[in-house]
């Protein structure tokens, strides 16, 4: 059985990864991810796991080292945040194109400038098209569970794609929470050693990440897209397996009091918890409100999402990032295009809130709800920006 522990979520993320029998960790410390990097280094230094900790000189090197290690057959892990993730950007599509199941924690933080170390989703959004499986967590327990599951998902022979687990910076990473940490034996049973499809070895020379001319490149892009879309099935399967073993159930799209709701709010990441409390408050006041949460952001869970919002009249998307100069928040624009072809679809209203670590309390969700409800058109609105 796992044991109940209380610790900082970032430390727990490292502890969870340590249970996964990783071979290589290449991590460059960056706020608010640093505690993951530091604790991972401690774990390796203390000899608690038999892994190599590579002290790299930048995030570009961190992800590159992971790519190389993974190509050689290792189970590789990294963690980053904000500018670090931006620096990794160049390598991210290479890792997915080479179908290397590298796993990463991203402590979500706003991107510069101005320099801001607090939470929002503007770091992960520019990476959303890089072919990685992209999961969001809401609390410490989910960080532990999804960090372990991410390896199983990524390494599945049907998937073989890298996976990023998003952990809201400070809001989550620096919280001390109680949770259940599975035992080493349980994780070993759940997560067998990696069996690479192919690996770099001098006895059997192969080439990875080669050159493709215009007459073949498009085929490789389609092959990768089909693989990523297909990963949803595996994510669901791994979630079900986890529920059976550990009793905690996850879904690619999660709902809260959504069944009979006229209006649904949509969130990703840690805002979901506060939004749930706001739903409770509004329900007490007799408003038929519910909540939808995207756990899986890439591949986008199209069918599950459509089913979750099928009954509602209005969908208010709370975005923690903005597509600058675009049609609104990245989640809302995605959601709108997914629903575009539907005959019966809700009105999609979009509120941009909580940027750069600005607090969102229960009251704020009620205010956002009122602000959005008053809107006539479907353009976006900033919440709480001083006029």
């Amino acid at each position: 059985m796992g044991k109940r522990v209380g610790m900082e979520v970032a430390i727990a993320a490292a502890e969870a990864v340590a249970l996964c029998n990783i071979d290589v960790a290449a991590v460059y410390p960056i706020t608010p991810q640093s505690h993951i990097a530091e604790h991972m280094a401690d774990i390796v230094h203390d000899g608690r796991i038999d892994a190599e900790f590579i002290t790299v000189e930048s995030e570009h090197s961190a992800i590159s080292a992971c790519a190389g290690a993974s190509a050689a057959g290792a189970r590789a892990y990294t963690a980053t945040s904000s500018q670090g993730l931006m620096l990794m950007h160049e390598i991210l599509p290479i890792v997915s194109a080479m179908r290397l199941p590298v796993c990463m924690a991203n402590a979500n933080r706003a991107v510069s400038g101005p320099l801001n170390i607090w939470n929002d989703h503007s770091d992960i959004m520019p990476q959303r098209d890089s072919g990685w499986i992209c999961l969001f967590t809401e609390n410490g327990q989910e960080v532990i569970d999804l960090s372990i599951m991410s390896f199983k998902i990524a390494e599945d022979p049907e998937v073989m794609l890298p996976c990023v687990v998003n952990i809201d910076g400070f809001q989550l990473t620096h919280m001390i929470e109680p949770f259940e940490l599975p035992s080493q034996a349980e994780v070993a049973k759940f997560l067998p050693p990696r069996k690479p499809f192919a690996q770099l070895h001098p006895d059997n020379p192969i080439s990875m990440g080669c050159f493709a001319m215009p007459d073949t490149y498009a085929e490789t892009v389609k092959a990768k897209d089909v693989a990523l879309r297909g990963a949803k099935k595996v994510v669901t399967r791994v979630f079900a397996d986890w529920a059976k073993r550990f009793g905690r159930k996850y879904n690619v799209v999660e709902t809260y009091k959504a069944k009979d709701a006229d209006t649904l709010m949509l969130t990703m990441g840690s805002m979901g918890e506060t939004a749930s409390a706001a739903v409770d408050e509004m329900r007490k006041a007799g408003r038929k409100v519910g909540l939808v949460k995207l756990r899986l952001w890439r591949p986008f869970p199209v069918e599950e999402f459509k089913a979750a919002v099928a009954g509602c009249k209005t969908l208010i998307v709370m975005d923690r990032a903005l597509s600058t100069g675009g049609a609104g928040g990245p989640v809302a624009t995605d959601v709108k295009s997914v629903l575009y072809g539907e005959k019966k679809k809700p009105r999609v209203l979009n509120v941009i809130a909580g940027l750069g670590g600005r607090d969102l309390a229960v009251r704020d969700f009620e205010n956002m709800f009122d602000l959005a409800s008053k809107k006539k058109d479907e353009t976006f609105e900033f919440y709480g920006v001083r006029e």
Binding site: M98, M160, F197, A198, G209, A212, E219
Partner: protein, 102 residues
């Protein structure tokens, strides 16, 4: 699992024939792609001037210059793109670039 080299197609036709990760299991098959067909000039060696320093061999960006039995150098014209770097770097002037048409 990886297909055996013998079973492997030369080049995938359809998207689902692409190896995961676009991996190429037949090592060295880049040699099948001849990249010298579009050159407009070719390097020509005058071994009387050559001091066998190997500079041309080192500088060729196509790595298509090889040493011969007698220690001189020549380009494999299947892969030479006619950039002229070898001629530029050879300070005794043992290499000149000639028009392909000539």
């Amino acid at each position: 699992m990886a297909k055996k080299k013998t079973e492997q197609k030369a080049w995938p036709e359809k998207w689902h024939e692409v190896n995961p990760g676009c991996m190429v299991f037949a090592a060295g098959n880049a040699a099948n792609t001849k990249t010298g067909s579009w050159k407009s000039q070719r390097p020509v060696w005058d071994n009387a001037k050559c001091i066998k320093c190997g500079i041309c061999y080192i500088f060729c960006p196509e790595a298509c210059i090889q040493d011969t039995q007698d220690g001189f150098y020549e380009a494999n014209l299947d892969y030479c793109k006619g950039c002229g770097i070898c001629a530029h770097e050879c300070w005794p002037g043992a290499i000149v670039m000639r028009e392909e048409e000539e």
